[in-house]
């Protein structure tokens, strides 16, 4: 779906309100073109066409099994590791198809990081969790690594809570802290896009609120795409929302429009709980 059309519509509806006008810096960072995906014989994504804007948060919502996790995993080729998975069409990152045979998947995943539902810190110290990525990339300077740790933890809103215990095991942290550590770990290799697959599903409301605040902050530096079952969360944190159903992208638009006046009946029925 054409994001420029959505933005132009916003521009027209806000004529005269300069603060709402589309910025010239708005640009497309990721784009799905005729994306189809099968697990064995089951088609999980059906002809997805979607443009995602840089430095914005996009939420993907839909009922279980609609393909939202599959879609988000297709943005950094995480589906490649699933046996029997086959993809057609493309995902363009900075206008280059990441499904090209020449694409270096490791490079793609460096630029497009991912956070999962359950925090998965490595069983090592907080410090080592953060330095793991940069070290694999060849960074050896201890001072530089320390700077990266402080920078990443500060950006993930975790520094103040762990700065005096960086050598403690990451597994001693609470669930919410572990999730923010995973985010800090992803930030350490400076990705351009952060994919989040239900990042707060296993967290309590306070830890959830911290992650949401963090997402709000992160979009200043990167693009965030977040799958969530929590529609209120999608409404709070995202600029744009995609609604998916049975592998199809049903509606895509600005979050306020999707949740206040959806255009499609299916979207309306889903977000108002009138399904089934």
């Amino acid at each position: 779906m054409d994001v420029k059309a959505i933005l132009n519509e916003r521009k027209e509806s806000n004529e005269g309100d300069k603060s709402q006008k589309v910025k010239s810096s708005d640009s497309i960072i990721l784009e799905c073109r005729d994306l189809n995906l099968w697990y064995e014989d089951t088609q999980a994504l059906k002809n997805i066409n979607l443009e995602l804007l840089k430095n914005h948060v996009t939420a993907i919502i839909g009922p279980s099994g609609c393909g939202k996790s599959t879609l988000i995993r297709s943005f950094n080729r995480m589906n490649d590791v699933i046996l029997g998975c086959r993809t057609e069409g493309g995902v363009l990152f900075h206008e280059k198809n990441i499904y090209d045979k020449k694409t270096n998947v490791i490079e793609v995943r460096k630029k497009i990081g991912m956070i999962f539902q359950k925090p998965n810190p490595f069983p090592m110290s907080i410090f080592d969790n953060i330095t793991y990525g940069p070290e694999v990339q060849g960074e050896e300077d201890p001072q530089k690594l320390e700077e990266i740790v402080e920078f990443s933890l500060k950006r993930a809103f975790l520094w103040d809570e762990v700065k005096d215990r960086l050598n403690d095991s990451a597994l001693t942290l609470s669930g919410g802290q572990q999730q923010r550590l995973c985010i800090a770990r992803a930030l350490a290799i400076e990705p351009e896009v952060l994919l989040m697959d239900e990042p707060t599903a296993s967290l309590d409301p306070i830890a959830t609120a911290k992650i949401e605040e963090l997402v709000f902050e992160l979009k200043k530096y990167m693009t965030v795409i977040c799958v969530t079952h929590n529609m209120q969360q999608a409404a709070r944190i995202s600029d744009f929302t995609c609604f998916m159903y049975l592998g199809e992208l049903i509606e895509y638009g600005e979050t306020t429009q999707i949740f206040e006046r959806p255009r499609k009946e299916l979207t309306e029925n889903y977000i108002t709980g009138r399904f089934g």
Partner: protein, 216 residues
Amino acid sequence: MAKELHKEILELKENVVRMGHLSLDMLDKSMKALKAKDPNLANEIIQKKDLIRQLDSEIEAKALRLIALYQPMAIDLRRLATILKVITYLARLGRYGKDIASAVDELSDKPYPAPFVNLEHMWEHIKKMISNALKSFTEADLKYIQDIGSRDDEVDEMRWSIFRECITYMIEDPKTITSCAFFAMIARFLERCGDNACKIAEKVHYMVTGEHIEIT
């Protein structure tokens, strides 16, 4: 849980309609009491103002509770947002009914100018506007309020016409000054009732389409 929310919104909607009919009835009876100089009827209307206030508070509290409990979206959110605004307009209509009824006591021993000016005609016009706005809300159908803006323009003209008429009567017969001054004021009340009907129509339009409009 969604079913429970929808059931509660339906009940809330019924209460709004009840409040709407009560406000309309207060206005209608106040105009009858005014014409007939009937203090008993006027008193009956004045007593109802507490009921309007009570309904206003109850509906508001329930709507806010539903928002807090269910965090509704799309049409559910628009319905509740509309209800919260519409009850304010309905409470104002009821209050104008009470204000008109209060004038009856003041006018009981004052002579009216020969005809009951055009207030009655103006009220019939506005009554239809309010009824249509309420029907539009009940049925979520915009057809009843399509021309409400132009109907309100007519109301505005009627108000000035009554104002000029009252001045003429006052000049002709100073004994009618009190009643005519009240009539000019009541014409202004009724004109504001027309504006409130338009405000309800604006919110119903938002409820149905999700778009905000201004009826001028």
